[in-house]
Symmetry: none
Subunit: 213 residues, 4 copies
DNA sequence: CATGAATGAGTGTTCATTCAT
DNA sequence: TATGAATGAACACTCATTCAT
């Protein structure tokens, strides 16, 4: 039993090292050698904890998603509706160095996710989780009467998902152009478009671009 | 006299083959061997038309951008303001097989663009072109009085850019989820948020989110 | 526990194989494939023991020099002055098959030593060792009163160095023309020119061309 | 007939370019591409004037030897015996930039001469010419009574040949250590050892190291 | 005569993986 | 459990050569 704990810890250690290598050398530079070197152990040992390289990479992506999900859970505690949605979205956007790394890893996988069926299935499965989470929060907001008009739930969910992916790409490719406050402003603009009260001038400070954070 | 070969045509032929390989096998599978095999010639011949592999890949990306740019030029002829902006955006979104391929290539490069400085410079340079183009059209729309309220030009440009990248990623990763009409609907929603007449419910709702597909 | 391999022994084995390949196929024929084939192992294994090919070649040259140096040390034990110098020189000349191989390797490197700075530095450094060794023995001989007249130490050292290089080249290029006894005779003629007694016709002519070995 | 002249001129032009490439990039860098580029013509044209690359390299070496030989002929005009020998030797030593290049080319070939039988035959044949020339001059000197004692003609010839090769190697590898005056001094020391008059202290200024040139 | 497109073998190198220890 | 030696395939690239024009 304790060995299993050690095993999991070692696995996480290896995956964290994998992240660092991807962030430093790109996904093409994330070789078995580089990862083992980053961990500080021999190459062969990786085979003990993972099936093969694809397993390492997939697990690294999965762990990244799990961390984001855990942060989202924590951030939304005690919240509901649009407020919860906003908190969850803030965990998905690359607002700081940690989230930058996650975005970098995510995008690095995009170029590969299509090829390996295993990786593709994982990607789809993980996306489904995010999609469902956002959709549920939107439904909750609708049930709470926070949304102004009749609206298409899937369409709205898409808007948020597209915002995450678009901002992640922009942030990774042109980091200087997308500071945190700009990201939050874009998010708030989107949120504001839903909570638009019949009276156009509501208490919606989020509607117009303003530095947040 | 040596055999006269249209050098530019041959270069384009090689680059088109490169696209197909990237689309089929991913950017990691776009080896010299695979490209030469796709072209139907020997490996060494590629050295006649390009300096090295980086030159091939960079040229492939550049050509892709040039084609999109040319399509945008053509699509916007005789148009101004928001109408021109909409036509241009429609050329940037992955609405059909051809544009899907372009989006696939684009995203494949994202994972690599960060590492090689040459590719990164190219990426930044090309992005600047797109940014400027969208920004100019928005300014034109503002000058024409098409926009409802005072607004932040850079902020608005960002909204469109994020839409392109977000939709490209979504389309490449989960093609079934983002059919063409959904993409157009998302674009029109964004456009509608600018042309929003003083009366919030203008003639735009027709354009607004409607269940497509 | 992994298979324990004497790393240094394996390195030496590879370098010895490199020598044989150079001797057989020339330095241009000393490819990674040929060396691996000579060793009797796969190509990739060489990467375990050396950084790259330049490392192999440089190490091969260095080991050759080290062996000559070790032989010189051994040969000069208990000797001083001109006698020690003669013993040392006999180890530097291509008098037998083993030394022929060394000369062949040495000359093969001359055509390449100029280009790669690493190899050139190594060559200069190794030459400095030989130069210093010969010069010190000449000084010792002078201190012992073995030399007839006031003489230029550097000039004399040059005479011996030129003899080594000249004979090495001749032996490698035209082996039949420079048998061992001829080489020794040339060496003794040079040595005799220093120990020339006041009476020019001393006991030295006896030293002159005589079959040695 | 005029075409033949052009052909020879073109051949010489190509060979001169080959020298420059060898001097600049080493013999390993003397590729067909580099030579054609240095000449300023296409690659295929070289096949019109030479059979193949080995023919080019061999011809380059041959032309180098021919030039040295021509200089020797010219330098020895009107001279006999040791004086002629000295003049001839001065043309064989790397005393200036032009001769440095020749020595560089010569040594570059040494590492390759052994492998190609064609090149080896050429090398032997050319060496025979030099050997015979030096030997004849030494015999002439003996006949003229310039040489002090009975001596071994082949042995003496070897001394001069070894001096040439040894000095060439030293000059190419460590140019700063072997300035022209040092070379001439070494030559004169060797010459002096033959002309040693019965009276040991003759008018032989060449015997002791002195800056010449 | 001359060109340059085209070929295919060969280069050094890197990689994921296996396996005996 | 952990090591690292060993493998063999694949990589980008360079080269000498051929040949239709």
């Amino acid at each position: 039993m304790p060995k299993i704990v050690d095993t999991d810890a070692k696995r996480d250690e290896i995956l964290a090292a994998t992240w660092r290598v991807i962030a430093r050398d790109g996904i093409a530079g994330a070789t078995i050698r580089a990862i083992a070197s980053e961990v500080g152990c021999s190459r062969g040992i990786l085979a003990h904890y993972f099936d093969d390289k694809a397993d390492i990479m997939g697990s690294a992506l999965l762990l990244s998603h799990r961390r984001v999900g855990a942060r989202m859970d924590k951030a939304a505690i005690g919240m509901r509706g649009l407020a919860a949605l906003r908190s969850v979205m803030l965990e998905a956007l690359p607002l700081d160095a940690e989230r930058d790394l996650e975005a970098q890893i995510e995008i690095s996988f995009w170029g590969r996710a299509l090829r390996t069926s295993k990786l593709r299935d994982l990607q789809h499965q993980e996306f489904e989780r995010l999609w469902t989470r956002l959709r549920q929060l939107l439904r909750q907001a609708a049930d709470l009467g926070e949304l102004a008009e009749p609206f298409d739930l899937d369409f709205a969910t898409h808007q948020f998902v597209v915002l995450i992916d678009g901002l992640s790409a922009q942030r990774v490719l042109y980091p200087d152009r997308v500071p945190a406050d700009r990201q939050v402003a874009l998010l708030d603009r989107l949120l504001g478009s839903f909570s638009a009260a019949p009276s156009d001038s509501g208490p919606e400070p989020a509607r117009s671009p303003r530095p947040a954070r």
